[in-house]
Symmetry: C2
DNA sequence: TCCTAAAAGGATAATAATAGTCCTTTTAGC
DNA sequence: GCTAAAAGGACTATTATTATCCTTTTAGGA
């Protein structure tokens, strides 16, 4: 239960690797993929998602590649994970009131909410700089 | 991400309902299923899992049904969830050292461990008695 | 002992999600 | 115009989820 998918795992690996590189260095997707041992075509999709929301900046054509969209200490693990896995939702009822008709009287509901807060809290306190370990 | 499956949700609903009943009352699966709005055939499978590990006691034949295997305040939400969803594993590397060859130098690894601890902690502190709301 | 109630177990099936691959298109540098 | 590299789209294989249905076992009661 609550397992990160490969996609999520690959996403973290890839962007953490970027964070270990000099911040002005434009990295090739193929290099990143090789370095973190992820299928390049799959990682491409992931970085496209990152790019759309500005987590990374991409340059096309010769000399192109990727750099972080912000300083490594201003990107949290939570952002990275949510970018590819979607929001942290331990149970559908936490997403919005009314999702489950039982939520008005349900005592379990607040527990899932608590789980959500705790997980988000852990992930939010970790930045790419922490993970790069420099 | 981290979403409980229907099975898990149904499992919680079903056993919480049992906890709201008088503790010596043998409840029919069909009644439980109707009360918590879950397909009876599906809930049957879930309660079979509960039964195997003693979370509920089952009686077959006429007058049969289910009762809690222990007092409601001695069954935690964690146990219930893990019974049907398996252990709380935010990422494969937390299950055992060596699962991922990178874990020796990986800074992300301990974060997932922390997530695991936090989630387990929240769920462990809640018992069926709390959830039954009596 | 036979009938009926009820859970246990097993097989199967439809749908959705995951984990990719491959090909074409766009963009940019030389 | 050639080449490098990311972006986008279509497609596929595998696995997990969400069930349903049928048969078997167990037990109670007439
Ligand atoms: S935990 Fe309660 S509110 Fe949430 S989905 Fe389950 S029954 Fe509904
Ligand atoms: S978080 Fe680190 S140790 Fe865990 S699977 Fe990913 S790379 Fe491996």
């Amino acid at each position: 239960m609550m397992e990160l998918t490969r996609k999520g795992e690959y996403a973290v690996r890839g962007i953490v690797y970027l964070a270990t590189q000099p911040e002005d260095k434009v990295c090739l997707l193929s290099d990143i993929a090789a370095a973190v041992d992820v299928p390049a075509t799959f990682l491409a999709k992931i970085f496209q998602q990152f790019s759309k929301i500005g987590l990374v900046k991409s340059y096309r054509g010769t000399g192109g590649g990727f750099v972080l969209g912000r300083a490594a200490d201003r990107i949290t693990l939570l952002e990275v994970v949510e970018a590819v896995e979607g929001p942290i939702i331990p149970n559908r009822c936490v997403v919005a009131p009314g999702e489950c008709p039982r939520d008005v009287f349900c005592n379990v509901h607040p527990v899932w909410k608590r789980v959500q807060v705790q997980v988000r809290d852990v992930l939010e306190k970790v930045t790419l700089r922490d993970l790069a370990g420099l």
